[in-house]
């Protein structure tokens, strides 16, 4: 059984078909990039997969459960238990420290565990920034806090919408290294991007245009190994 299966979903705003009869399967442990020009429906798809929106028609199976008909309340619970979200604009609670921002996700999931949150920060190379407020962190560091927060509850699926959109090359590489490592550990990744470099590192790239999947590219040279950039960041 696929971890995620979209069965001919459409999302219609007025007469705009943001998603038009899209079908897609993502297997457990896969790393899929979703690419496409602006306005092609990438974020719309992300929101539906991330249980933050519902399709106008079609079915979304997550772990075999149809989430397209669930109530908002249940969607919140599913999102909390199965999905880690990463956004382009980072989105941290700005009066909480890096560590606390990670712990918030634990708090709403189960119970905050400082040691575990600290370990998550260490994974993204931010152990020494734990007590900093978001305003005291660089963009790349903020995004890594978001990744740590997305990881903390061991989600089955990590959904990232333009995770490197606001980052420079060096930080982009650090983020990609973390993804690579997560992938190596078996986490399923769905990453939306219009940066070809980010798309290329994935196992499979799905191209969306005008709400339709027009192409799927399998990355032959894909290899899941930890690159030096992350090792550097950790030290």
């Amino acid at each position: 059984m696929s971890l995620l299966e979209l069965k001919s979903i459409s999302k219609i705003y007025g007469d705009l078909h943001a998603l038009d009869n899209v079908s897609l399967k993502v297997e457990k442990g896969e790393w899929v990039a979703i690419m496409g020009p602006s306005g092609s429906g990438k974020s719309t798809m992300m929101n539906i997969i991330g249980c933050m929106d519902k399709p106008t028609s079609g079915q979304v199976l997550l772990d075999g459960v149809d989430i397209s008909k669930e109530s908002d309340r249940n969607l919140t619970a599913i999102r909390r238990d199965k999905i880690g979200l990463i956004f382009q604009q980072f989105h941290l609670v700005n009066y909480l420290t890096a560590l606390e921002n990670v712990m918030v996700a634990q708090y709403y999931h189960s119970v905050p565990d400082e040691a575990e949150a600290m370990e998550a920060l260490r994974r993204v190379g931010l152990a020494d920034r734990a007590k900093h407020l978001p305003s005291q962190l660089s963009g790349g560091e903020q995004q890594r806090v978001c990744i740590a927060r997305a990881l903390i509850n061991y989600p089955e699926l990590i959904l990232a919408d333009e995770p490197t959109g606001n980052l420079d090359e060096a930080n982009e590489n650090i983020v990609l290294e973390i993804f690579r490592q997560l992938h190596a550990e078996g986490t399923t990744l769905v990453v939306v991007t219009h940066d070809p470099e980010v798309g290329e590192v994935a196992q499979r790239t799905v191209v969306l245009e005008y709400g339709k999947i027009t192409r799927e590219i399998h990355n032959e040279s894909f290899e899941a190994k930890t690159a030096p950039a992350l090792a550097e960041a950790r030290n």
Partner: protein, 430 residues
């Protein structure tokens, strides 16, 4: 974690939270002031209005008829009807006994002075101590019913401390004409006896009473051979303003239906209180001193209405203010709220945080408001009533409840907004 988030929100939104606290404080302070004044105002206005004297007079039946028919001025020859002194205490046993604030009996006669002048000699209670049949105690008399008397010489006659049974107070005109003052003795003579009155005080009433002499009940009864009898009783009662029913009943209580009668009897109309007094005092006619009785109730009611109005308006005002501020605060934080929802916070958890913040702020505001309001109450008390307002304990829970209700009601729109907020809409910068 919960507390870290609350604390964080407070630190970040200091200004807004302070504004919310002040808005609540304003509402709470006005409510506190008005409630304190209102609960105390009954007594206060009562004290004010009592300066206008009694609002019910009770006279013997035949004298009332005679007075009304022939307008005879209390000459002993014209009437021999009296009220019975031993029935006085019953006034405090009627249905509306609690509304009877003060009363005083009178017996009057004429007496001759050494100068040959004839004066009215009135026997009464000054500050008489009464043990009621109900077990209650009451100090009542003209000291309470003639508060406007200006004591130009000497002091008020204190019945309970005065040992001389011939102590008396005389009107300013009598004092001037006879050339006597406090501490002097004044000889009076009636048909039935004579006495040397010891003048303890001279009063200026600004009315005919300045021509009269007021002495203890027993002394005047002895001098007029009317032991155990009274010529009139003055009663000061708190009343409800008359309405149609009261007017109809005042004309003829027997014309009322049973239920109308019950309603009337059980309402503190001046006519029903009069009626009840007549029931307990044999052969008496109790009649309202109309204008005063009316205005007393009306002023009390209007003042209370005004205060309730101010309280409601101030609470509505602060409710609207809170509503604005909380909505703005939630709007400002829509990103954060969307994010919390996205990472799995339930609506109830987020509402809980926002409400906790507001309620904590509200408590701070309410406490400040309570003390400020208590200060307001004192200012009102001193400027309007010339005395301080008593701290009523029951105001605290009322104000607490009102503030919580207003704060929560004011937060409803913000909470609804928060519940409607969809993470996808704020997180992708749309």
């Amino acid at each position: 974690m919960f507390f870290r988030m609350i604390r964080g929100a407070f630190v970040r939104q200091k200004g807004k939270m302070l504004m919310i606290a002040l808005t609540i404080a304003l509402g709470a302070s006005l409510a506190t002031a008005m409630l304190n004044v209102m609960l105390d105002v009954g007594d206060k206005i009562n004290q004010e209005l009592k300066t206008y004297g009694a609002n019910i007079t009770v006279v013997p039946k035949s004298s009332s008829v005679l007075n009304n028919l022939y307008e005879v001025e209390g000459g002993e020859e014209a009437q021999e009807a009296f009220l019975r002194e031993d029935e006085l205490g019953k006034i405090k046993t009627i249905f509306w006994a609690f509304n009877i604030v003060d009363f005083a009996p009178f017996i009057d006669t004429t007496a001759d002075l050494d100068s040959g002048e004839e004066v009215r000699l009135v026997g009464t209670w000054f500050n008489h101590h009464l043990d009621l049949p109900t077990g209650e105690m009451l100090d009542t008399g003209v000291a309470n019913l003639r508060t406007w008397w200006d004591i130009s010489d000497g002091v008020w006659l204190d019945e309970q401390a005065e040992s001389d049974p011939n102590a008396a107070m005389i009107g300013a005109m009598v004092a001037r004409r006879e050339g006597v003052g406090a501490g002097d003795t004044l000889h009076v003579k009636t048909r039935y006896g004579e006495a040397d009155l010891k003048v303890v005080g001279v009063f200026d009433a600004g009315s005919d009473e300045d021509e009269e002499i007021y002495a203890p009940m027993d002394l005047v009864q002895a001098l007029s051979d009317t032991d155990g009898y009274l010529t009139s009783i003055e009663v000061s009662a708190l009343t409800t303003p008359d309405n149609e029913l009261a007017i109809k009943a005042a004309k003829d209580p027997s014309a009322l239906s049973v239920s109308q009668y019950e309603t009337w009897y059980c309402t503190a109309y001046v006519s029903s209180i009069c009626y009840q007094i007549q029931e307990v005092i044999t052969d008496s006619v109790a009649s309202p001193v109309r204008q005063v009785a009316d205005s007393e109730g009306a002023i009390l009611e209007k003042t209370e209405f005004l205060m309730v109005l101010i309280t409601i308006l101030s609470l509505v005002g602060s409710g609207l203010g809170i509503c604005n501020l909380v909505t703005a605060s939630v709007m400002e934080r829509s990103n954060e709220i969307g994010l919390l929802k996205a990472i799995g916070a339930k609506d109830s958890a987020i509402s809980g945080i926002v409400l906790t913040e507001i309620v904590l702020t509200g408590i701070v505001g309410a406490v400040i408001g309570y003390f400020v309001g208590f200060g307001f109450a004192q200012i009102i008390g001193h400027t309007v009533f010339g005395s301080s307002i008593e701290m009523k304990a029951m105001v605290i829970p009322i104000v607490a409840m009102l503030t919580v209700a207003v704060t929560l009601a004011g937060s409803i729109p913000a909470i609804r907004m928060l519940l409607r907020l969809r993470p996808a809409e704020v997180l992708h910068g749309r």
